[in-house]
Symmetry: C2
Subunit: 394 residues, 2 copies
């Protein structure tokens, strides 16, 4: 018999395909070895670098009351937050989409009286309603980062970024670019130059699109300055050289000079770091008040991390940097697996323990009858321990 | 002026106290240093021991579809699961209250074809609607554990427990007791002894209460056996000696002998482990099919962990053990902090880097004017680095 039975055709035309539910929701995945190990060990490496610069680990909870979490810096995250009701208090709680607002809350409460500069680090999982960027699919996000709360100086900005750069280097992430921006600069320049309120939105859009023609048309007396700024982007030292030549009103100049000073301070810390500067960029920064940075790997589109200067709880100078281990770990080789030793039945337990202290994984025999070499190979072992003798499989 | 103003009294009688919302929901807390560090490093230590015995790390997601998660071993967890709707599929998702059902799911899917014995380990955070035990308050739970899937033998049971014991020892948890039970034993005995269905519930309750008088009254021809079993509890070797003397019908004897054999296999692995046996205990074990274990520290009431034998996905022999790092870390000294070095302005960067590799935390000066020694003390440093010279503060 050939062809398709009529009943099947009828069904395919009138019904949905047979229900085949996805095993896991989009954006929530299982990690196996070595990915799970690489991520966990990568986070530990990052946290180790942070700790070596005096950043003390904090661990805020996965869930908070909605009104507490969204009250401060979390407000912008309302749409990204899953909510559940606390059956005890009947208050709504959010599953955190971001750890940084929690660190700000802690800075104003539990560690309010800890001496400044306050250096804290964190690592933990977050959940977002939708992937945070077009090139991403994850809704479960691993975040790790640092906050330096108290000082407000180019050196403080540079410390946070240089610690981040050292952490990435230790992790083995190569060809990272630190892309620096100063989001308050263009708004400050338009304000100081008295660009009429009504023209600013269109001008900002043109600058955001890097559209020189539109900027020339809409920039009025500021057009040539803005076009010079558009051109003063790229590798940091090149951009800085051009930026110093541009004539600016004094307040805008001061804002821009802070960017220039931060570049110098970061260069002092990291002589070989790839840095770019874009003085015109402002998109995607909402509550930042100073230099911001986005980390990319050359040739890849996902952000590796981001950070910048802001006012913690609207009153305390702070600079932070958040890294994304779940993105980073895809760029590094998996952490090496321990070589595996099959421990034949009756083999010496002390020798097995000694092998473990030397970095081997020992797998106890689970069959008394199977030939140890065959079992060892089947289980991915490279060695067999018989009695007190450990033999490499050829 | 003394006494309470009338208006305050009136308000206290007629109104609720002034609204003062708790900062965090009950059971969700902030950890600071050293607790946050101790927990994270404790988890890493446990995972390291698991890996050294060939247990490969997996990382299932925080969130799953409700119907997938609750379909298998997760069914008993429905009441403990917070739920949110996936806006894309409109299907309900659960925030996992337990990782072990996810490992079972993975054993039947992603790692279904991995050779057995399958050894997996996991560490991650879970959220429960209510604290899991009366003596606890946490609703955010850290879980870490292992599963040994495939073999069904006393040696496999003993492997899982002995790896758990080694992990606790490495963590520095002292005076742990492994309390072994065999939940299927009493039901098997009552069945084989043809105790009428109608009498079993009352008899089980009497056994559960360890109420010898009620057992004697309701036990019928089995009364003396059951009382002997009630008395055969306590330290493992003592209990086993008594259990071997009790006459039992053959199937019940076989079930009990498996407990006895597991005790012997575990003693072989762990000559000094404190083990107790209670052959009559069955409460709190729902889907377990063999030997179970609960871990306590002598003199403390919270469980440190639990595990036992079950049928993974209702068809594959498995034995697992889950530890609770969030309970464990309260029982061990905090992991030592790095000694802190204040790096005076202009000090040698290479020397600071060298100190970091030696285990120091170096704190960059954030003030050019402050006296380094004063700043160092204020920030909890024990050393100051000036130039290339690191000096301990007296």
């Amino acid at each position: 018999m050939t062809g398709t039975p009529c009943s099947a055709i009828a069904r395919s035309m009138t019904e949905d395909p047979p229900f085949s539910p996805a095993l896991l929701p989009a954006g929530f995945v299982d990690f196996l070895t070595p990915d799970a190990r690489t991520e966990a060990e990568g986070v530990a490496t990052l946290m180790d670098v942070f700790a070596s610069h005096g950043y003390d680990r904090v661990r805020p909870p996965l869930i908070e009351f909605e009104d507490t979490y969204l009250a401060g810096a979390g407000a912008a995250l309302a749409e990204q937050s899953f909510r559940v009701m606390d059956p005890d208090t009947r208050r709504m709680m959010v599953l955190r989409p971001d750890i940084t607002p929690q660190v700000a809350r802690m800075a104003a409460t539990r560690v309010a009286s800890t001496p400044r500069p306050l250096r804290v680090s964190y690592a933990g999982v977050c959940v977002v309603v939708s992937p945070v960027a077009a090139e991403e699919s994850s809704r479960q996000i691993m975040q790790t980062g640092i906050e330096l709360i108290g000082p407000d100086s180019p050196e403080a900005d540079a410390e946070v970024m240089s610690v981040g750069a050292e952490a990435l280097e230790r992790l083995g992430v190569k060809d990272v670019s630190f892309d620096l921006t100063m989001p308050p600069f263009i708004p400050a320049l338009l304000e100081e130059s008295k660009v009429p309120e009504a023209q600013r939105a269109a001008l900002m859009r043109a600058l955001d699109r890097k559209d020189s023609a539109a900027v020339a048309e809409q920039g009025g007396p500021l057009a040539s300055t803005l076009i010079a700024l558009l051109e003063a982007t790229g590798l940091a030292e090149h951009a800085v050289a051009r930026l110093t030549e541009i004539t600016l009103p004094p307040k805008a100049r001061a804002v821009l000079d802070r960017l220039v000073d931060t570049v110098a301070a970061l260069r002092e810390q990291c002589p070989n770091l790839r840095m770019t500067v874009d003085p015109v960029e402002f998109r995607g920064w909402k509550y930042h008040t100073g230099v911001c940075v986005t980390l990319f790997a050359v040739g890849r589109s996902e952000e590796l991390g981001r950070g910048g200067r802001y006012l913690c709880n609207d009153n305390e100078p702070a600079c932070g940097l958040t890294l994304r281990p779940d993105v980073l770990f895809r760029m590094i080789p998996p952490t090496p697996a321990r070589p595996r030793v099959y421990v034949a039945s009756g083999a010496d337990k002390r020798e097995a323990a000694r092998l473990r202290t030397q970095g081997y994984a020992t797998l106890a025999a689970s069959s008394l009858t199977a030939e140890p070499e065959i079992e060892a190979r089947r289980l991915g072992c490279t060695h067999v321990l018989r009695g007190t003798v450990c033999t490499a499989l050829s």
